[in-house]
């Protein structure tokens, strides 16, 4: 049998059902794996060994009593440190929240606990989810399990690296401009950003509220569908949550894609900066989709490519500057004293925020300030409308849109930290879907012939069409066989 730490969540659930292992044995094997590899990968910000073992013991007791809470009872899950966890330190990767112990659980955490999923660690991230490499964490840089000199992507880099390295079978991340999909692509796993409003934002520390969306990072497509079923669906505590029950995503996931219309984004394939090896693997993926019965066509998203980054890097920092106003040294987090309230607040924020967070708060404050609002923020919101419209036009002709997830494979630590704009361009293909609120997935499509690092295929679907997107990704993944083979695991 494959070592326990390489099993996906559904495989672990089957092993638990068959009585081959106990939840405590699973937890023990994962903790041992963390001991072995996390000193070099550095994916985990706060280890929750005691809580994990305690939750696993409770899961085993429920199993013995025949009182399982869900088919995944006893399968541990990791959380990006942006989800608040009652009684367990939550920092969002920031000094300003160092030592913060939340008094409540995020809805995602609450629902996973209610399904019997033991809590396995708080995972590293770029500070307040601002970044594309996890180098902006105030505490440490996470490494890519495929090459420890390279970044795992970001901002959910700790979640992605932990899943890829076998530290947890699946984990939660958040995506604002690509923060689930880009790291999933760079470490060779599956990452899903659902339609805006499918997963509750309650208890998810806010970055850009009109874009932020939680989603799963998993070893395979089926696990991603399962985790969304567990935690998705309407939450009265989030006013932007879409009314309705959790989506049914596992039913029909294996129905195939005969006759499905897949649109390839012409402009993305012609983009300057698309690496040769990424193009090669993604073109293979398109041919595979065709072989599986899909009808390929071209779609055009010129505004998304030319202006998506500009719109995103005006809108997200503007929202962030408002959201981060709450870190004022009064109710929680760091305080640096000052002679009056303004001095106290200004010194607290100077000491508590890292360089990228300061940059974005400044950028957002500037673009919202008197005299610049119309030229920057106001125009960016109109560009957002154009991006929504060009997606709507594309979806008149196709069911799913396909593209590379990231223009390059994993880059080296430090390579882009000196040039904020170069780092922002990592998000070239991923920012459009959240601006339009659409669901998108990154699914591995093999290793680049140039550097033997993972490449991700991005699939985007119309709002609330997660089932079509997942069915496409599942058919592709099963036929490729990468995720299930030893080739799909990092040499670690």
């Amino acid at each position: 049998m494959t070592e326990l730490h390489w099993l996906g969540a559904t495989e672990l659930a089957s092993a638990l059902d068959a009585g081959e292992v106990s939840a405590q044995e699973v937890a023990g094997a994962l903790l041992q794996r963390a001991d072995e590899v996390d000193p070099s990968v550095r994916a985990v910000l706060t280890r929750t060994d005691e809580r994990l073992l305690e939750d696993a013991r409770a899961a085993d007791r429920r199993r013995a009593a025949g009182a399982l809470r869900s088919p995944y009872d006893g399968v541990p899950v990791g959380y990006k440190d942006i989800f608040v966890t009652r009684g367990t330190v939550t920092t969002a990767g920031s000094r300003i929240l160092e030592g913060y112990v939340p008094p409540y659980d995020a809805t995602v955490v609450q629902r996973c606990s209610a399904a019997g999923l033991p809590l396995a660690h708080k995972l590293n991230m770029d500070e307040f989810a601002m970044g594309s490499s996890t180098e902006n964490s105030a505490f440490m840089a996470t490494r890519n399990p495929w090459d420890l000199e390279r970044v795992p992507g970001g901002s959910s880099g700790g979640s992605a690296a932990a899943v890829a390295a076998g530290i947890v079978p699946w984990a939660w991340g958040t995506d604002t401009g690509g923060s689930i999909r880009q790291p999933a692509s760079l470490v060779g796993i599956v990452g899903v950003k659902p339609t805006y409003g499918v997963v509750s934002r309650y208890g998810m520390i806010a970055f850009a509220s009109s874009l932020d969306q939680a989603g799963p990072l998993t070893r395979n497509v089926r696990d991603a569908a399962a985790l969304l079923e567990i935690a998705g669906g309407h939450d009265p505590r989030d006013a932007t949550s879409i009314p309705g029950p959790a989506p049914r995503l596992l039913d029909g996931i294996d129905a195939g894609i005969e006759g499905l219309r897949v649109g390839i984004v012409a402009e993305f394939m012609q983009a300057e900066g698309l690496a040769h090896g990424v193009r090669a693997r993604v073109e293979d993926a398109y041919r595979r989709l065709e072989k599986l019965g899909a009808e390929l066509g071209e779609v055009h998203l010129p505004i998304s490519l030319e202006h998506g980054i500009s719109a995103y890097y005006l809108i997200a920092p503007a929202e962030a500057s408002a959201n981060l106003a709450r870190y004022d040294g009064v109710r929680y987090g760091l305080r640096v004293d000052g002679e009056d309230v303004v001095a106290m607040t200004s010194r607290t924020r100077a000491a508590g925020f890292g360089a990228e967070v300061k940059r974005r708060v400044m950028l957002g404050t500037y673009s919202l300030s008197a005299g610049y609002y119309d030229a920057y923020y106001g125009r960016a919101l109109r560009v957002r409308t154009l991006i929504k419209q060009e997606f709507a036009r594309a979806f008149e002709h196709v069911d799913v849109i396909a593209s590379p997830t990231s223009p390059t494979t994993a880059f080296r630590l430090g390579e882009r930290t000196a040039d904020p704009l170069a780092m922002y361009l990592s998000d070239l293909f991923t920012v459009a879907a959240p601006l339009a609120g659409l669901p998108a997935i990154s699914v591995p499509c093999g290793l680049s012939p140039d550097d033997s690092l993972p490449v991700g295929l991005q699939l985007i679907a119309p709002a609330l069409q997660e089932s079509t997107m997942l069915r496409t990704a599942y058919a592709f993944e099963q036929d490729l066989g990468f995720a299930a083979s030893p080739e799909g695991r990092p040499p670690l």
Binding site: Y196, A311, S346
Partner: protein, 97 residues
């Protein structure tokens, strides 16, 4: 449009971030580069295009006005850097008369 030093200082004051001399200099250079890239959208014809503040429109979400669960005072104050008599403590705002 490059952003000047006075604008950096003005925005830092609005954002309540006490920047060091070195940070002010770096911020001026970096924001200028980022804004120059963002200004590409100035070239777009946006006449008659409505702004989208949200991707998925949900308006007037209502719920009954009922008392629900909430944090106790102790829980709410537990993470505060300074507490006095069951309240958040801040530096003096109003001078003695």
């Amino acid at each position: 449009m490059p952003i000047d030093r006075a604008a950096v200082d003005h925005v830092a004051r609005l954002a309540r971030i006490a920047l060091t001399e070195e940070e002010r200099e770096r911020m001026q250079a970096e924001l200028s580069v980022i804004l120059a890239h963002a200004e590409r959208i100035a070239a777009l014809d946006l006449d008659g295009v409505e702004p989208s503040a949200h991707a998925i429109e949900l308006t007037d979400v209502m719920r009954p006005d009922e008392v629900g669960e909430c944090l106790s005072r102790d829980e709410a104050l537990a993470n505060a850097p300074a507490v006095e008599d069951g309240r958040f403590a801040v530096p003096r705002i109003i001078e003695d008369a």
